[in-house]
Amino acid sequence: MSRYIATRAIRGANAIVAEAEALLQKAIADKGADHPVAFPNTAYYLPVMYGMLAAEVTTLGQMEPILEHAKSLLHPLPDEKFWVPYLGETLDSGMSTILAAEAIEAIRFIYGEQPEPYPGIELTGVTDYSNFGGNGSGPPTDGHLNGPIDDIQLRSWGIQLVDGRMPGFAAIIGAAHSNEAAVAIVRELQSRSILTFLTGNVNGRSIIDQLVEEGVEMGFDTYIIPFGRDTLSAIYPVGFATRAALTFGGMKGGQWRDILLYNKFRVFAFALALGEVDDLKYAAAAGVLSYGFPVIADTVIPEILPTGVTQYEHVISMPWNEIEGATEEEKAAKLVQKCIEVRGLKIKVSEVPVPVPYGSAFEGEVVRKNDMRIESGGKHSRAFEYLFMDKMEEVEDGKIELIGPTFEDVEDKGSMDLGIIVKVAGRKMEKDFEPVLERQIHYFINGASGIQHIGQRDIAWIRISTAAADKGFNLNHFGDILYARFHEDFGSIVDKVEITLITEPDLHAEWLQKARDAYEERNVRLGSMTDESVDDFYSCTLCQSFAPDHVCIVSPERLGLCGAYNWLDCKASFQINPTGPNQPIRKATQIDEVKGYFEGVNEFAVQASHGVVSEVAMYSIMENPMTACGCFECIAMLVPEANGVMIVSREDTSMTPTGMTFSTLAGMAGGGLQTPGVMGHGKFYILSPKFMSADGGFKRVVWMSSILKEQMAEQLKVVAEREGDPDLINKIADETICTDVEGLLTHMTEKSHPTLEMDSMF
């Protein structure tokens, strides 16, 4: 907490509370203590007083105890010499400021000074004061600013704020650097559907004046609401926030803590201080902070960067003169972007802006050579895609750039090199999520009609059909697709997305190398991730819809049995969808290191299997093996005569040495039942050092579908080396060698399979 800010906020609060007291005494003397006070067309009395203090204020006299309370929150200025904590004092001052401000505005209604007269102004949609004569002189007849937002409008906007259509609201205090800047800032907010509240002035000049001069339409219909030209009118956005919590959070007056937290976590608002910040503005800003709303200033002020009362930074200074940008529009865009970052607003891109139909229905579409306009990847060119995270300030959200030629000059059915670079940043983004997000590029691009995408990393292969090209589809549209989809599907971890498409040969080569280095680094990272190196495994209960008692336990060294979810996928999925099927499972105490019993895993299994499974051995097929739904890529099964296991691939339809085919075996392995000696699992689990390690590991494999041997030839070689038997793969039979036990035993003896010498499995 900045001592400077504390000092000025406390000073501002002292002044305004004194002013409120004087005004209240004058009003009571003029009108009597029983004179009614109210904000017209709103429920909840004077909302901040009601929300914070459960005070049902309807008369002038009832405000006296409120101001007494405000006074009790005042503190002496921080000492010049002795540094003590003053966050509490500053927030107290903020609260007393908004209580005093609310009192003053309420009294001004009595004197006809609120809503603030503004001769000549015409608002499109405004709070209606025509039936308001109760306690004041009625609204000015030749134009006025809005004053408090009426309840009907509160509900209408509240619903949009709550359901996310409106990302949040901005309370602007002061006046912009220039009229052009004022317009640019407001337009920028408007283009992002952010509700904009205008208050305050700098040396008598308000952003409201600036927008009036520039002919900007204001009012409910344009989502730009002028509240008042002085700082005190900032009480209306604060009241709006309080009423939102009372209306939509189901809170009652006096639940001040709940109301403030509701705003912190659910109402995405921020204050934007334009121009010089005086004591009163600091004091008002301190009040706003209590609601969890950060303050961003376009002048030089001390910053408060640690998080706490607000979700991220508290106070940010972004001096207008120092913002990079050739035009006021560019500067405004950067300023607003910063506000969005600091408040953690989530931007929704509702439609994918491409000239061809888009949807998951087009994902499987094939573009044949004859229908093709151009391709990248395959035999004649190279395509690669690379997603990486960077610092917030290094990523320009929404920037899509093509470096190099388009495909216009490439002959029909020709090919060209393409690199797709996606740079992302996000508060919750982690380096480990890079590959998870990168793999989505395949699905996202495939969703466009007339586009085919195969593969990933540097073996990506993309075709654009003639039909799509004729409709105007160009390379930049890949950027549009990725921008929209990453925000839509991964908005909870990704705040900013920038896409660069590279066709320029030298740069392509340079980035391809960078990408390959990164792929390699990721492979090493994945390889080095062990079950011991993490605290949490993840559950997957996605399949409980048809296997109600089955739960997959996914660990770094054991991917989901369907092969579709590894540990990182589950981790990312949990970030994106915290109530979804992938929940973290704290390993807790390891009960048995060899068999892989963990206290936390057992507890989770009991609960998620509804009591059916009480223990899971992560690394054994013989004792409490993990259950399976039915989606397994492979089935491992004990062949007792061979003292080992066979592994059948889903893609293998032939007979196996156990006398059963895959489909017959599937009935035994699936359905969420623990059957010792039978286990459904993912293909890549075979390569894991933890593959039934309690029972002897990979050396126990005596028979394996030939398709697995082919698909994973290289990796299996490495596994054989690791197991200390480089020739192991040749010792393992497959369906081309034998499909019965006799044949299997003959083969094993011939090749002297290691398991013949090993302990009995059961």
Binding site: I159, V162, D163, T247, G250, S545, T579, H610
Partner: protein, 322 residues
């Protein structure tokens, strides 16, 4: 010989949910409907308490539907020409709640409007004292456009707003929050999805006492066993104490049963299928009565005679187990 009846001791209880508000609570309903509260499986009175009997609602539309079976058109007759008359007829038929579904278009093919939705809801509220549920046509953007004004129009009445689905629930929940109504959550026959949507909806701040859960069902012969088993598992989980499955369940056997061939088609079917009218009613009644057995707390029906049959069954079961 004495027979010892085995009893299960459950730790959980289904939540009680009350739809509708009388004048005392700021509404204009003459009666409210409370469902849920069970501490045991359906009709096992010897084991636990079942404070409220399964309730039966009648579905009405904001206008005469184009695609309903002639059997239904004939039964409701003139009443279908006005939602108010239809609601009154449904009340007379013995419904515990009126389930009003707004159509995508008006009778002359124009898009339905918020004004029209408001008007219809007002008419229905004025015509009957029964508690009310209102659902949109089932198209996210139109649902939201229509349900928000409906929620405003019915402020104070504690109506049940439909239908919150995984992809579209925020607006409807917000409308319920703003106007003190209840919401219906609906998920496609999956225990975990059901649970997850209840969590997501309650995360928005609406109390669990204002959520009714629709696990979705199929008609007899068209997936009812799947729906039945999902409901059974939801209820078992609820009784075992899994909080997010403890919402009372609403299902819509009416809509399901009346869209299958057996109830829709009168001609060109095997003679052994028997009398069309009777067959159609049996189909809806059997679908509904199976769902009552799987734990449904509120069933939406279309034909008044079905309602009588299901009611008779519930009466009889309550009488024998009382």
């Amino acid at each position: 010989m004495t027979v010892e009846i085995p009893k299960e001791k459950w730790s959980g209880q289904v939540r009680e949910v009350t739809i509708g508000a009388t004048a005392e609570d700021g509404g204009t309903r003459t009666q409210t409907l409370t469902i849920g509260g069970e501490t045991t499986l359906p009709f096992l009175h010897f084991e636990g308490s079942i404070p409220h009997r399964p309730a039966l609602a009648i579905e009405i539309r904001d206008r005469k539907p184009d695609d309903w079976s002639p059997i239904l058109l004939e039964t409701w007759g003139e009443a279908m020409e006005s939602p108010a008359a239809w609601a009154k007829a449904a009340e007379e038929a013995g419904a515990d709640l009126i389930y009003l579904v707004l159509s995508l278009t008006t009778a002359d093919g124009e898009e339905n409007t918020p004004e029209n939705a408001r008007r219809v809801v007002r008419e229905v509220l004025d015509a009957t004292g029964l508690p009310l549920a209102v659902a949109g046509p089932g198209q996210a953007d139109v649902d939201n456009e229509l349900i928000v004004p409906v929620a405003e129009e019915a402020e104070g009445e504690r109506i049940l707003l439909g239908i919150c689905e995984e992809g579209n629930y925020r607006t409807i929940v917000a409308a319920a929050l703003a106007n003190n109504h209840l919401v219906q959550s609906k998920t496609p026959m999956d225990v975990n999805l059901s649970k997850q949507l209840v969590i997501l909806i309650s995360d928005m701040g609406i109390p669990l006492e204002r959520i009714v859960m629709d696990p979705t069902t199929g008609a007899l012969g068209y997936g009812i066993e799947y729906g039945y088993s999902v409901m059974e598992r939801l209820r078992l989980a609820a009784l075992q104490g899994d909080s997010m499955t403890q919402q009372p369940m609403l299902v819509d056997p009416g809509a399901e049963a009346w869209k299958v061939k057996e109830s829709k088609v009168g001609e060109g079917v095997p003679e052994s299928w028997g009398d069309w009218q009777n067959r159609a009613l049996e189909w809806e009644a059997l679908t509904a009565s199976s769902l009552v057995q799987s734990g449904a707390d509120l069933l939406v029906l279309r034909h008044p005679d079905t309602l009588k049959r299901v009611k008779a069954m519930i009466d009889a079961l309550l009488a024998t187990t009382a």
